[in-house]
Chain length 279, copies 2
């Protein structure tokens, strides 16, 4: 397990809810993730949840209620952190949308971020290597995320069709190059290299490399305070239509950006992944 | 609504998850509680969840996943705070098992606690008056709680058979007069008045006034770190047996004292209450 150690463990819906710490080469600091192992299944498929701004493994693990549905479906669920953190990791003083808790799932190329902010490499490459130390079937992986993590799920899902068989997102940032959160983060992490920006923009990616093999599932609350300025699902919807990308975008009347929203539709999302991964 | 105001609101499983603040006469400070209103039901029955040491309305409301089951059953769920808190409220410096977050659901008679620590009166008398301002059927109420709140649920349920039609608890402190948490809290709040102590001890109460009209439901994790010293369900089990009190005590193998445990069996508990309160 490359030095991975279980730092917390609880029984949950018959399975094991773990928190794992390991030395990360990509991020240059110890990283923690949560891992839910469903009961009675050997080598379960793996569903990775990428969290949004300010979150750690803990938010989705304590608030989203996925364990009930993962236990029933026989899916393992992994929730990594949203950035490196701790001693020596640079941060943006007084900001919650840049730096610690806001890695945006990119490999930073600009200082002071480049040394530690390698969340693309961390999630898509190093984390699966660490997971190989557990009894998991890494040939069957799915990706899910929320907000900034929904961006990560869509981007990685489009980029790595061979690895991720199913993709879903809650309230994703679908077009980071066109909205303030993404523009600020990409400017800092990637500088003015617009080609690099495009490689991290789901709306641009889907035009270049749609995944016609799967339907992307997106849920979006109609009362989400970030909808018009930061999320703009219509941009992604239009790009999917033009590119022939199957998309199920469900606008959910009255819901906001919170974990109360995520929990309300988690059963649907786990079922979406279970259809692709289990069976 | 006696000055009650909604300070937060989220949509959750089709219903409304509120946080309400109101001036409390019993506690002498503003108090907050959460209130879940299920969708599509007028005047739903009310299930009150009493939380454990250190908690506020927030722990159970974000971590226990009750909304899913309450929405399905058509039950409202109320979660009050565990003590008064804020300016002028005395606390026990450096302790988490006395003072703020640790009201133990008693009416304190000793200083410095007596002025504000009136959680019995608050939960059983004032809170229902505030709830009368909402569209709820207060003729159909149930009580549920965890740890210190399981103690509260059992005590109030035994004391007020006319008010609470159903009672359940996770990992309750069943015999506070016999365990350190309860002895320390009762000494502080009630002094050495042993008769007052007894009125707040479920194991003693059930001997005097069992409720043969209902089955009490208790879930207890076998790996709960507080089991042997603070919880001691066998004391309550024996008293119930001797008093003819119907009790379903389920020992849950491998579970601990956390909300992961509570969430795992919340569906069962809500169903227990729904059988008594709905339909």
């Amino acid at each position: 397990m490359s030095g991975a150690k279980i730092v917390s463990e609880w029984k949950s819906f018959g399975g094991r809810q773990l928190v794992v710490e390991h030395a990360s080469e990509a991020c240059g600091v110890p990283m923690r993730f949560s891992l839910y192992l469903p009961p009675g299944v050997t080598r379960p498929p793996v569903l990775t949840f990428l969290s949004g701004l300010t979150c750690t493994w803990e938010n989705v693990t304590t608030k989203a209620g996925f364990q009930r549905w993962a236990a029933e479906a026989g899916l393992a669920v992994v929730a990594p952190d949203t950035s490196p953190r701790g001693q020596g990791v640079p941060d943006a003083e007084g900001r919650w949308d840049l730096g610690v808790g806001a890695g945006f799932y990119v490999n930073a190329t600009h200082e002071p971020w480049a040394r530690h902010y390698q969340m693309d490499r961390y999630v898509t490459d190093e984390l699966p290597q660490v997971l190989a130390g557990f009894d998991l079937d890494l040939e069957r992986q799915g990706l899910m995320g929320h907000s900034m993590g929904g961006h990560g799920a869509l981007v990685f899902g489009l980029r790595h069709p061979e690895r991720y068989r199913s993709v879903s997102a809650f309230s994703p940032i679908v077009a980071p190059t066109q909205v303030p959160w993404g523009q600020q983060a990409f400017s800092a992490y990637l500088g003015d290299d617009r080609a690099a920006w495009s490689r991290y923009d789901a709306t641009e990616l889907v035009r270049q490399r749609p995944r016609r093999d799967i339907t992307l599932l997106v849920d979006q609350g109609s009362q989400d305070g970030f909808l018009d300025e930061q999320l703009r699902p219509e941009l992604f919807e239009q790009a999917c239509r033009q590119a022939g990308q199957p998309l199920r975008l469900d606008m959910r009347d009255g819901y906001d950006h919170s974990y109360y929203f995520i929990a309300s539709f988690m059963e649907d999302h786990v079922a979406h992944h279970a259809r692709a991964l289990c069976g």
